[in-house]
Each structure stands twice: as structure tokens, then as C-alpha cells.
């Protein structure tokens, strides 16, 4: 297929083009070059100005800390849980429970968590007035706490499902049932057997995904706006504030800050590699002493508790969003509203229809483009037998590891310069940078696992590659393709930063509207928007799960 030949270069251009141009568009203004705003000379003045901003280093350190703690706790919970329960009935139950959480947008999960843990949130209501004796919300800074603890919690509950699913995807490539049995027959406890025998090879496979979590958590904006500290906020939030400053000169300092963000994420990644070393050394010590660690009950119980409570936090949070969106009067400390009404929905819907349409169109278009490119790339890989290398994987992960804010800034500058800011195609393209990697990662494994002999038979029957693709391969992979589409769709729906920057406030989505409501604190309206934000990916996954069953209801060989 000739078309397939174009796909790999085109895909690289889609992934790396915005990255390269975006970084350039950040670096040049950071060093003073932005002719439109009168910057014609290279200078380090803006970095000096950044250096003088009060609390800037505290913001930066906070970002590094959030990135490391989030990743450490989420990865630790996932690894400990897989170690302690791989192969048990509980494992498959948790797997079914956690998987759908991947589709919940970060912002919605963060709002949900806020509604649970805030001083006037559900948890406080449930324990008031008895046993706390409170009849008004306590004066505590739980959400937006200066240590960013609630922000970390919000990130952890969302990164656990991601890391769990990535680990599950890597598991089949290890011989885990045999290895675990072997380890335990040598007298090792479950956790020790897993840590010593299985984890090193497993971790190697998921390492890039872990890096992506570190990078994401150090540079996240929407969760930080909802749950993060305010005086001072984490670095990315301060960058967004400068970016939105009507005084255009602050763009220079914002760009310098975006370069600083690159450094912050890099520092976090280097620190993470250091933690990897320490972890490996600890495992080596345990291994070299022949410690069996058979009494691992506490670790196992803790990992289960963490997994279950993170799932509970997201599900409970979504329930809170739904409840608030239909609540009438709801006084503290009542556990339920005194009345239910659809007024919030009725008021919000007319205003929501525009953003909703933008959300759906951008998500659909970017997902379709990503699917076509991915399928053609994989088809090309099949034809040439190349392209599975580590380098190719790194290129796909690159847009997920370089902090979004650092190159989206530059892209915004570039889009203004080209006059395509707030244009629909530019927004689709900006989403595509993040949708494409996820679609590719989600489809490539099932695609490669497909039995090639079906294609050989088809060729022997005289069918061309294109016809084989359309008549044999795509139908047989319907389920995987629809799942990848649902993943892509939900990634697009959840995008906050690219939409805010490239949409320039004129193209808004359900997500940007929801996050914009955070400052206002109107729980009913937030409930409506954040619930809608959750609903869209959920529907996409429902279709992806249900449709193949319907299409192939008489085909036993395609059931899961």
C-alpha cells in the first residue's frame, strides 16, 4: 500500500513538529526575541526578572515534590498490589473496577475529590454533627493546602489506574505465573518473589510510562487550579497567570518560566532516576541476604487499602458531582440535599451546548486522524518488519514526557504569529499531539499480536494488502480499534492546557469551562460541567465495549 509509506513520516511530523516549533516558540521569547512585542535583541533579562519573582523557587520546588511523591505513591501502590494479589480472584475484581477509571478526566476526578474532602464535603458531613459535634464546616484548609497534599492525592488517584493498566499490558510479556510459583517454591513471600524476580523486567517495560507520570505531575495545570496550593501555587499555575495577564510584556517572563518548567521537570526526572537506583540497591540488599520476607501481610494489606480507597475516591467523587448537579438546598451537616431539582442542568445546558459541540468535534476529529495514522503506521511496520525499536517508542512517548506547558506556550505564540490561534484546525492539531501517542500505544499491542497467518492466507487467496486490511484485519481487530478510539476520545475530552492556549478563550470545551468554574466555587454548576466531562468518555467506552458484541453477536471466535 502506497499510502502506508507516507504514514510514519507524517506521524513523526505530527508528534515532533509541534514539539520542536513549540519549544522554539518558547525559547526565543524567553531570551528576549519576540519582534511583535518589541523584543529584537537576545537578553537574559527576563530570567533575572523571573529570579526576582517572590516565591518562584518555592513554586518550582513544590512542582518537583508533587511530581516525585505522586509517582512514588502511585507506582508503589500498583507494584505492591500486583505483587501481593497477582492471580487471585481479588485481582481480577480490582482490575475490572479500576480499568474504567482511566477514562475519567483529571479535572473531574479532582473536583470529585474536592467535594469529598473539603471542610464542607461529604466526609465531614458524614461524621457531623456526630461524632465531631460540628454544625458548621470547620475552618480548615484541606483543599488548596500549602503543602499540596490534596493536589497530590488528586493526582495519585488518577495515576494509579494509568500505571496499573500499563503494568497489566506489560505482564503477558513476562512468564509471571511460572516465575511467581518458582519464587514461592524457593520460600520467598509473594511480595519478595515479585520484587526480586519479576519487577526488574516488568519495570523496564513500563519505565517510559512512569517518566510520563513524573513529567505530567510536575507540570499539571488543571488539577493544580482545582486542588493545588494558592500562595504560592505550583509553577505551571503561575505561568498560566502570566500568560493570561493583559500586560503583554509578561509574556516574556512567562516564556522564561516555561523554560524553567523544562528544568523543573528535568530535575524531577533526574531525581526519579536516582530513586530508581536507590530502589534497585535496596532490592539487591534484600536479595543478597537471601531474605524471604514471608511475613508481608502489612505490605499486602496496605497496598489493597490504597488501591481500593483510590478507586473509591474517584467513584465517590463522581457520585458527588452527580448529586450536587441535581441538589436543591443542601445545608451542612446534612448528608443529603433536602430536595432535588434539575434547575442547575436547565440553566447550564443552553450555555454548555457550544463548548459541548466543540468538545465532541475536536475529540472525534483528532481521534479519527490518530486512528488512520496509527493503522497505516502499523501496516507499514507489518510490511517492512521494522519499527518496533526502543527509539520509536521513545519518540511516541516524547510529547508525554516533555512538559505540555513548555511547548504549548510556544505553539500559542506561533499560532498567533501565523494567525491561526483560536482556529478549529489548530485546536484539532494541538489535541492530536496528545491523542496520537495514546491511540498508538493502545492499538499497537493487539495489532502486533494478531495472527499474521490470516494475512498470508488472504494473500494466497489473491487478496491485495489493501483488501486484506479492509476485509480481514480491521474487522478482526474491531474491538481493539474501538477501544483505542475510546482512549483517544477521552484523552481529547480531558485536555485542558492545549485548549486554553490554542483556543485562546474563544474556543472552549466542557473541560476548560469546568476548570474555569473552580475559582467561583458554585458546586451545583461545577457538578453539572464536571459530570458531563466524565459522561462523554464513559459513553465512548460503553460504545467501544458494547458495539463489537452487537456486530459479532453470532461470532464466537471474536468474543473476549
Amino acid at each position: 500500500m502506497r499510502l502506508a509509506r507516507l504514514a510514519p513520516p507524517l506521524t513523526l511530523a505530527v508528534l515532533l513538529g509541534p514539539l520542536a516549533f513549540g519549544l522554539a516558540g518558547t525559547l526565543l521569547p524567553a531570551f528576549g526575541y519576540l519582534p511583535e512585542l518589541g523584543g529584537r535583541h537576545f537578553t537574559t533579562l527576563h530570567f533575572s526578572a523571573l529570579d526576582a519573582v517572590p516565591g518562584i523557587y518555592r513554586s518550582a520546588c513544590l512542582s518537583v515534590l508533587v511530581g516525585l511523591v505522586t509517582t512514588l505513591v502511585a507506582l508503589g501502590a500498583v507494584a505492591a498490589f500486583v505483587a501481593s494479589d497477582l492471580g487471585t480472584p481479588l485481582f481480577s475484581r480490582v482490575r475490572r473496577m479500576i480499568s474504567p477509571l482511566l477514562s475519567v478526566p483529571h479535572a473531574a476526578a479532582a473536583f470529585g475529590l474536592a467535594f469529598l474532602i473539603a471542610p464542607s464535603g461529604m466526609i465531614m458531613r458524614l461524621i457531623s454533627p456526630w461524632p465531631t459535634g460540628l454544625d458548621r464546616p470547620p475552618d480548615l484548609l484541606i483543599v488548596n493546602d500549602p503543602m499540596a497534599l490534596s493536589m497530590m492525592a488528586g493526582l495519585i488517584v488518577k495515576e494509579i489506574p494509568f500505571l496499573f493498566l500499563v503494568t497489566l499490558a506489560a505482564l503477558p510479556q513476562t512468564r509471571h505465573p511460572e516465575i511467581m510459583r518458582l519464587g514461592r517454591s524457593l520460600g520467598y513471600g509473594r511480595v519478595a518473589a515479585f520484587l526480586i524476580l519479576l519487577w526488574p523486567s516488568l519495570y523496564r517495560q513500563i519505565r517510559l510510562a512512569v517518566f510520563a507520570v513524573v513529567a505530567y505531575a510536575t507540570s499539571v495545570v488543571d488539577v493544580a487550579l482545582i486542588l493545588g496550593p494558592q500562595l504560592p501555587p505550583t509553577l505551571p499555575v503561575r505561568l498560566i497567570e502570566w500568560m493570561n495577564d493583559p500586560q503583554l510584556e509578561t509574556r516574556f517572563i512567562a516564556s522564561a518560566g516555561a523554560v524553567m518548567q523544562l528544568g523543573v521537570t528535568l530535575v524531577a526526572l533526574i531525581a526519579w532516576v536516582g530513586l530508581e537506583r536507590i530502589g534497585a540497591a535496596l532490592v539487591a540488599i534484600v536479595r543478597d541476604r537471601g531474605r524471604r520476607l514471608r511475613r508481608d501481610g502489612v505490605a499486602r494489606a496496605a497496598s489493597r487499602a490504597l488501591m481500593l480507597s483510590s478507586a473509591l475516591a474517584v467513584f465517590g467523587g463522581i457520585a458527588m458531582l452527580a448529586l450536587w448537579s441535581v441538589s436543591g438546598l443542601w445545608q451542612f451537616p446534612d448528608a443529603l440535599p433536602s430536595g432535588f431539582t434539575f434547575r442547575s442542568w436547565m440553566q447550564a445546558l443552553p450555555r454548555m451546548s457550544g463548548p459541548l459541540l466543540t468538545t465532541l468535534t475536536v475529540a472525534t476529529l483528532s481521534t479519527l486522524i490518530a486512528l488512520v495514522l496509527t493503522i497505516l503506521c502499523l501496516e507499514r511496520e507489518y510490511e517492512t518488519g521494522r519499527g518496533r525499536g526502543r527509539d520509536a517508542l521513545l519518540l511516541i512517548y516524547l510529547p508525554l514526557i516533555v512538559p505540555q506547558i513548555s511547548f504549548m506556550f510556544g505553539l500559542q505564540v506561533l499560532s498567533i504569529w501565523l494567525g491561526v490561534d483560536a482556529s478549529f484546525p489548530a485546536l484539532v492539531l494541538a489535541h492530536l499531539v496528545f491523542v496520537l501517542p495514546y491511540v498508538f500505544l493502545s492499538l499497537s499491542d493487539p495489532w502486533r499480536a494478531h495472527d499474521r497467518r490470516h494475512d498470508l492466507i488472504a494473500a494466497g487467496l489473491g487478496m491485495s494488502r489493501a483488501r486484506t486490511l479492509i476485509r480481514i484485519r480491521l474487522p478482526m481487530l474491531t474491538r481493539a480499534i474501538l477501544t483505542a478510539a475510546a482512549v483517544g476520545f477521552s484523552v481529547s475530552v480531558g485536555q485542558y492546557l492545549p485548549t486554553v492556549l490554542i483556543g485562546a478563550g474563544r474556543l472552549t470545551t466542557v473541560t476548560t469551562e469546568a476548570v474555569a468554574l473552580a475559582a467561583g466555587g458554585n458546586r451545583r454548576v461545577i457538578g453539572v460541567y464536571a459530570f458531563m466531562q466524565t459522561l462523554l468518555p464513559f459513553l465512548a467506552f460503553a460504545i467501544a465495549t458494547g458495539l463489537p458484541g452487537l456486530l459479532f453477536r453470532n461470532r464466537r471466535g471474536l468474543r473476549v
Binding site: 490470516h454 489473491g462 476485509r471 471466535g557
Partner: protein, 218 residues
Amino acid sequence: MNDQTNRAGLELDDVRIALGERELVRLSARVGRGKTLTVMGPSGSGKSTLLAYLGGFLDPVFVATGGASVDGVDLIALEAERRRAGILFQDPLLFPHLSVADNIAIAIPQDVRSRAERRAMADAALEDAGMRGFGDRDPDTLSGGQKARVALQRVLLSRPRLLLLDEPFSKLDADLREQTRQMVFSKAAEAGLPVLLVTHDEADARAAGGEVHKVGLA
């Protein structure tokens, strides 16, 4: 006329397949219409790479040279889908998303355009296999023997130039294996197809009756 009969069937002209420095296969042979050449060897001996070379999907890590033609048509010069090299694997590999009849109909060359005619041909092939009325069934509900028969009818209806068999009987249980062997070889003879069989089972070679070439003995 003499020239015609000389060139009828499959001709392998000094086919060599190598992996790096190691030569796996080296073979010159002529297989007449309806006749079978059996290539025997242990697993890993590279006997399946010979089929891949003839079928047009050899993994690029192998280096292959030499000519292969059927009735004077040079196979190697053609793309895989134009070689019309019908292939049967250990597994019947029916397409799971298509009905039994569609599995067969999809093999019929495109010059038969009418849908009804294609369906009629598929039904006739099913009847020929003793499976009348199975057309609308889900292929996954068939027995092992039935699947093997559908796979054979499918490949025969694609009007192949030759038949490549990659240990097609090894996964069947004993009595079914004998029956399927008979069916495959008699159908191939009936259609006048040269057959290249790759196997490690002596009984397959005996049933095939033709010449035997051994690879990978060193």
C-alpha cells in the same frame, strides 16, 4: 506441445535460503501437476521458510535466491497476492468475523462479479465437502474436521497455481488426520495442482506418495 508438458507444474531452480552464513535450504526440483514434493526436517530446520519464499512473505532476515515457476510463470517476480499460491497451515484459520459461506466466497477471484453467483459457488463447494446447509453458520461452531474441509474448499476456489502445505495435519487427531490427508491429496490431484508439503511426520510423506527432500540433517 512437448515444451508445454515439460514446463507444466512447479519448477524449483536451485533455490537457496540462508540465514546469515548458514544455508538452510538448497533445492532443485520439478513437481508435476497433481504430484507432491515433500520437504522433511526437524523444527527450526528452515523448511517453512521455503514455503514463505514461494508464497512471497519471506522474513527479510533470510536471504533467498533461485527461481520458482509454475507452468512457466515466474512466481518470484510477482507480488504475493498475484502468485496465487494457496496455503494451508496447521490451523484452519477461518476468518472469525465471516460466516462459513463468506469464508469461502471471499476466496473466489474478482472476475466472478455477481454476488449470487459467488454465493452459489460457495454453497456448491460446501455441498462438495459434505457440508450442505452450513453456509450461514459461525465458523467457530464447526468441528475440527469441518473447519479443515472449509479451509481446503476455500483455497481450492481461489484457483491457485500451486498448493503449499505447512504441516496441515499435525494438529488433527489420528483418524481425522488420515481422512483429511486423503481428501487434500485427492482434491489437489483432481485439480491438477502441484503440491509442496512441509512436514516432520513420515506418515504424511508416505501418504503424499511423491518425492521426498530432507533438510537440516547436519
